[in-house]
């Protein structure tokens, strides 16, 4: 989509790939630098192609169903912009509580990013899970201040009373335990959150009472 010239063998060709700093000359296999103006040109042409495709999608006579339809809704909301990959994954994780494999493959197809990049993002960040979780998510803060004030004890009590270890789900699917590195309420350690509700200044006998509120 953009014309590149190799400075070693003077070969010219139309580059269509995804790299943004260097490309490989098909003739002599040397590295060719891509300048910032050429990268802009590449982006502009890709965006034009996407807009053309978008009109093709709009005029489609049927609505996308199933997982393709769900992903299509979010991708359209973010305007088919590939730099919003992580924001789209966050929205998908919030709505479905996990990211099934079919959803990631569909996202790679609709947003036109390589599948390896989608999988790398989905397994790099701690907020995303590729396996289903329990109905209620318990997050125990393991920051420095909470640890000094006794968060390890809270984690041990949770593990022994629910019968699971860190990062596991109870067999009835009720709770999943996770540790998180610093929620930001450091003056009130130890702190846990259950489904976005904060509980601070905990002592060992508070746990039973808090857990019984969640079915």
């Amino acid at each position: 989509m953009v014309l590149l010239k190799c400075r070693h063998c003077d070969y010219k060709w139309d580059y269509e790939g995804i790299k943004e700093h260097y490309a490989t000359c098909p003739n002599c296999r040397y590295k060719v630098r891509i300048t910032t103006e050429q990268v802009d040109e590449l982006h502009k042409r890709k965006m034009d192609l996407k807009i053309k495709n978008r009109y093709a999608v709009k005029n489609r006579p049927f609505k996308l169903k199933g997982i393709a339809g769900i992903v299509d809704g979010f991708v359209k909301e973010y305007n088919y912009d590939e730099s919003m990959l992580i924001q789209i994954l966050l929205k998908l994780q919030e709505n479905f509580k996990w990211l099934p494999k079919e959803m990631l493959i569909e996202l790679s197809k609709q947003l036109k990013v390589p599948l390896s990049q989608v999988y790398q993002a989905a397994t790099f960040y701690k907020s995303f899970t590729v396996a289903p979780r329990g109905r209620h998510l318990i997050r125990v803060c393991m920051g420095t201040s909470c640890k000094v004030r006794g968060s390890q004890l809270i984690l041990d009590i949770l593990e022994s009373s629910l019968g699971v270890k860190n990062n596991e789900t109870t067999s009835d699917g009720r709770f999943t335990i996770e540790t998180v590195n610093c929620i930001g309420c450091c003056a009130l350690g130890p702190v846990i959150t259950v489904d976005d509700e904060y509980h601070g200044n905990l002592k060992s006998f508070d746990i039973e009472r808090i857990l019984s509120k969640y079915k």
């Binding site: 790939g17 630098r33 390589p114 390896s116």
Partner: protein, 207 residues
């Protein structure tokens, strides 16, 4: 309009064009800086850190990676010294924690050159060694060849590994690009005998 600037490597002065890295400049002088994750046809990655050299600039010395540092006027580079040899030896010994000590290829020859004892931290390994140092050459080469990559990185930190995506298996062109560049001899062949664990196995916990 590229300018020429003068830099000094190991006492030898050289006049080079602007816009290249220390590693490329050293190659022009036939000075050998070892590297494990660099390939002349790919963008610099900076993962193995074995190409660390000592530079002196404005009176301060620093250790930087030669494959990524762009040259500038008045730069003085030292590619061998006691400190650099110590660091390179330590990096090779640390790399053996992930890969185990049965490596062949570039890493084995570097280990014998720097007298690195690849089994020094063998007692600290808690899982099966994989012969891979995660240099990323195979993934980058595959992205070049197919523009979509059959293999890729998953995970973060100590759980980082290279897996094969079963959905993309049929675009593998058996081009042997990944086999050619592997510095530890982990990739035995391409095609029929899979060298990488499949993503489904890794996610299910079977590997």
């Amino acid at each position: 309009m590229v300018n020429s600037i003068t830099i000094e490597i190991d006492g030898k002065k050289i006049k080079v064009k602007e816009g290249i890295t220390i590693l490329e400049a050293a190659n022009q002088l036939n000075i050998d800086i070892p590297n494990l994750c660099h390939h002349e046809e790919l963008e610099p990655f900076g993962a193995c850190r074995i190409c660390s050299v000592e530079i002196e600039r404005k009176g301060r010395t620093r250790i930087v990676a030669a494959c990524c540092y762009p040259i500038e006027e008045g730069l003085k580079v030292k590619t061998r010294s006691e400190k650099i040899d110590r660091i390179r030896k330590a990096i090779l010994e640390l790399a053996a924690v992930t890969s185990g000590e049965n490596v062949t290829g570039e890493m084995r020859s570097l280990a014998s050159e720097y007298n690195a004892d690849l089994s020094k931290f063998a007692s600290r390994i808690t899982f099966k060694p994989t012969k891979c140092i995660l240099c990323g050459l195979c993934v980058r080469r595959c992205t070049e060849a197919t523009w979509d990559s059959v293999i890729g990185f998953v995970g973060r930190g100590v759980e980082r590994q290279i897996v094969e995506f079963p959905e993309k298996k049929d675009i593998c062109a058996v081009c042997t690009y990944c086999h050619d560049v592997c510095p530890t001899g982990r990739i035995k062949s391409t095609g029929a005998d899979p060298s990488f664990p499949s993503l489904d196995d890794v996610l299910a916990g079977r590997e």
